[in-house]
């Protein structure tokens, strides 16, 4: 077990939760005391809610809202400054023919591309998000992870997407994961912290619930499903469990924290299913880019095509939207 969390939480926690993070043993008791998640039940609910039929004005609203929630992402070994610059251009004006299309929420890149993205987005209000902490595996030492984070922040990142040490989590070393998140949060300064749980590696919904609470307790502003490098990435039932966590956190503390499913959400149809889940599981107040994001690379173009279909009355095809 790692040393007990050393510093006090950043924001004062209500008494029940302050006790939960007093030491390793308390943290474990708290996380294991959370109500279980029934796999059949949560999957059934997710599938049931996915049959909502969203049409006309409600669909148009959903498409524009979804566009404004996209973290336009490129996280490839082959990323270049040119690729990031064109992605920034796409973020600024997603559909060049239609200036009324909302801008996306952020562009998400590796730390070494933050400066390039920042320059391309100057004055637009579109955030730069950077992955950090030895993304995607998280397998490095703490000083490297912190240096990674600080570098991204210094380069101008508004948001940091960190990965947790899944090895530590799965071996029950919750204290280590808690400490790690807290230290990264401190290194973030004013930048917002999204904590990637990599739910595909946590395997059970009970683990997803525990990891969500762990990240919320340690000060994560957002909990995020996946790196996009592990299959399965985001799924609807996993997102349900995470939305329940932020809803329960609000009920307990009054604070609103965000959720970001990432990876595998490619179509407008899928995005709308997620928005319905946000609406009916967490609540309508989460329907804002401040509290819900999509981590995606190809979703934006489908949203743009469907938006055109709604307005023009016919489908135009992929050649009418820009590839990046």
């Amino acid at each position: 077990m790692a040393a007990a969390p050393s510093t006090s939480p950043l924001a004062p926690l209500p008494p029940a939760l302050a006790d939960a993070v007093r030491d390793d043993a308390s943290l474990r008791r708290f996380l294991h005391g959370l109500p279980g998640v029934d796999q059949v039940g949560v999957e059934q609910r997710a599938a049931g809610l996915a049959t909502r039929s969203i049409k006309k004005a409600a669909k148009m609203w959903a498409i524009d809202t979804a566009i404004s929630m996209v973290d336009l992402t490129t996280l490839e070994g082959a990323d270049t400054a040119g690729k990031v610059r064109s992605l920034a251009a796409k973020a600024r004006r997603p559909d060049p023919d239609r200036p009324d299309v909302p801008r996306v929420a952020a562009v998400c890149v590796y730390p070494d591309m933050v400066a390039t993205a920042k320059a391309g987005l100057e004055g637009t209000g579109v955030h730069v998000a950077s992955v950090a902490t030895a993304f995607p595996s998280g397998r490095s030492i703490m000083p490297v992870k912190l240096a990674d984070t600080r570098h991204a922040v210094e380069q101008g990142a508004d948001e940091i997407d960190m990965v947790i040490d899944r090895g530590a989590f799965l071996s029950g070393d919750y204290g280590a994961v808690f400490d790690e998140i807290k230290q990264v949060k401190e290194a973030c300064g004013d930048a917002h912290l999204k904590v990637i749980l990599e739910t595909g590696e946590l395997a059970t919904y009970d683990n997803v619930r525990r990891a969500s609470w762990l990240a919320l307790l340690a000060g994560g502003d957002f909990i995020k499903t996946s790196t996009g490098k592990v299959s399965p990435a985001a799924t609807l039932p996993v997102t349900h469990v995470m939305l329940q966590a932020v809803r329960d956190w609000r009920d307990l503390t009054g604070e609103l924290r965000g959720v970001k499913p990432a990876g595998g959400i490619r179509s407008t149809k899928d995005a709308i299913k997620y928005l319905v889940a946000v609406h009916e599981v967490a609540g309508p107040e989460w329907l804002t880019a401040d509290l819900f994001r999509f981590g995606a690379s190809t979703l934006l173009n489908d949203l743009l095509m469907q938006r055109r279909t709604q307005l023009d009355g016919h489908y135009s095809g992929p050649d009418y939207v820009t590839v990046d």
Binding site: V37, G41, R45, R52, A57, L275
Partner: protein
């Protein structure tokens, strides 16, 4: 819910129902006018008349029973199981082919939301025919001897809550075992049974094997009393069930009854809370609570009662009540004015007896029969809302301190159709399921129906099983 994101109406087109101005009864392979007074069936979601339906008179009952007897003696009773199976498979496939039509028609006539008729009623009805088709040539292996024989002519009377599905539950096992059928659908919901008759005609079943006679209770009574009927299967109220049992005493007719219920859903403090909330909601608000096995009593362990109730109310307030044909409707219309009045009367009694009433503030349509989802807390065993079947979207919440107390309260009812247990502890599920006097016990889920699983009750919930291997016994001479 906030006004931030209003779902636009997404109604299924009512044209898909192929609604006709008038429907006739189905006797001896033909659609014929009945000699009873025609009835007008209405859409409970709007109160408009949907169609005129001809009804049977007692003499029509006699004609239908004679046709069924002829079909039994000459064709169906002696047909090889492999051949019967082909017909039943054909019915199943035709239900699938016409599933949209059946779903829309069911929602129009019954008031249930289209998402339920589309995703539950119609697919499950097809599943019952598929399942029983498989048994038709395997009856020697069902555990009822080397060559179990059919009974003859089965008279079947079904309720209005799952019109098509109940017809399937009744007809499929009867046909698979070699019986012929005279079925009376409920007075307020005859339409899908008559489309099923069209399907049976399309499937080219020999005339008289299935006869469908719309009508009121008197036609049901005439069918029950008919001397040439060998078996009666009834699903409906306990009151009528008792009458039937009295009438049949000493006649030698075989009887199965599936009657009322007042099921308890027990939530222990270690339950998966979010899924339990979901299951409780499904248990009582599915099909507007018009479900004989509905989880109408919620037994909450006191240590989590307050927190659970709060979550439950929040969840119930998101239920969308309204147009049954809207694909986003969660709770549709109450089936009839009569039933709505009964629900109103019992909820008023709940308030008068001192239970705390909470009703969802969801908007209700101006026309049609609607009742907003309601939860009574602080209910005690002595109150009417804890003892009587409300058959509507009304949940009564009681609390308990220990597992023994939970089981004692759950069993403290003259009914015994179903029960639910919510806990993460497997050993407690097995312990409680053994103690529960209920025909179906669900663990960490509720209202799941499958043709392979026998369904039926204890005590005043009736006797006999439907579905599964056990369900075959009801139609075999064993």
């Amino acid at each position: 819910m906030s006004q931030l994101w209003e779902y636009a109406p997404a109604p299924e087109s009512r044209d898909i129902a192929n609604l006709k101005p008038s429907y006739k009864m189905f006797v001896d392979g033909k659609f014929v006018e009945g000699s009873g007074e025609p009835l007008k069936t209405i859409n409970p979601g709007t109160e408009e008349v949907l169609a005129e339906v001809s009804t049977a008179s007692p003499s029509d009952v006699d004609t239908a029973v004679k046709a069924a007897r002829r079909a039994y003696d000459r064709v169906w009773g002696r047909m090889a199981g492999t051949e019967r199976a082909k017909y039943i498979y054909r019915i199943a496939r035709l239900i699938q082919e016409r599933s949209r039509e059946l779903a829309v028609l069911e929602s129009l006539d019954n008031g249930k939301p289209i998402k339920e008729s589309r995703d539950v009623d119609v697919p499950t009805a097809a599943a019952h025919f598929f399942y029983h088709a498989g048994w038709a040539d395997k009856l020697p292996y069902a555990g009822y001897g080397p060559d179990p024989r059919p009974l003859g002519v089965a008279g079947q009377v079904i309720p209005w809550n799952f019109p098509l599905l109940m017809a399937a539950w009744k007809i499929a096992p009867a046909l698979a075992t070699g019986n012929t059928v005279v079925l009376k659908p409920a007075e307020t919901t005859p339409l899908t049974a008559l489309v099923l008759a069209e399907i049976i005609q399309q499937a080219d079943l020999p005339p008289g094997v299935v006869n469908i006679l719309p009508g009121a209770g008197d036609i049901g009574a005439a069918l029950v009393e008919h001397a040439d009927v060998d078996k009666i299967a009834f699903t409906g109220s306990t009151e009528v069930g008792k009458l039937i049992q009295r009438q049949l005493a000493g006649t030698g007719k075989k009887l199965t009854l599936e009657l009322g219920g007042k099921a308890a859903n027990i939530v222990f403090d270690d339950a998966p809370i979010d899924q339990a909330v979901e299951g409780i909601v499904n248990g009582i608000f599915f099909n507007q609570g018009h479900v004989c096995c509905a989880g109408s009593r919620l037994l909450l362990q006191e240590s989590i009662a307050e927190e659970f109730l709060e979550k439950l109310r929040v969840r119930v307030s998101t239920l969308r009540v309204g147009d049954p044909l809207d694909k986003n409707t969660d709770v549709g219309a109450i089936n009839s004015r009569e039933q709505l009045t009964r629900i109103q009367e019992l909820t008023a009694a709940g308030e008068a007896e001192g239970a705390e009433r909470w009703t969802s503030s969801c908007p209700l349509p101006d026309k049609g029969f609607y009742f907003a989802p309601t939860v009574f807390s602080g209910v005690s065993q002595a109150m009417r809302i804890a003892r009587e079947e409300i058959f509507g979207p009304v949940l009564s919440v009681l609390t308990f301190r220990t597992p023994d107390e939970a089981v004692a309260k759950a069993n403290n009812t003259p009914y015994g159709l179903s029960a639910g247990i919510w806990t993460d502890k497997g050993s407690r599920i097995l312990w409680a399921a053994q103690k529960m006097r209920a025909g179906v016990v669900w663990a960490n889920t509720f209202n799941r129906f499958d043709p392979t699983a026998p369904f039926g009750g204890y005590q005043e919930s009736g006797f006999g099983r439907e579905g599964g291997r056990a369900g075959l016994e009801a139609y075999l001479d064993v």
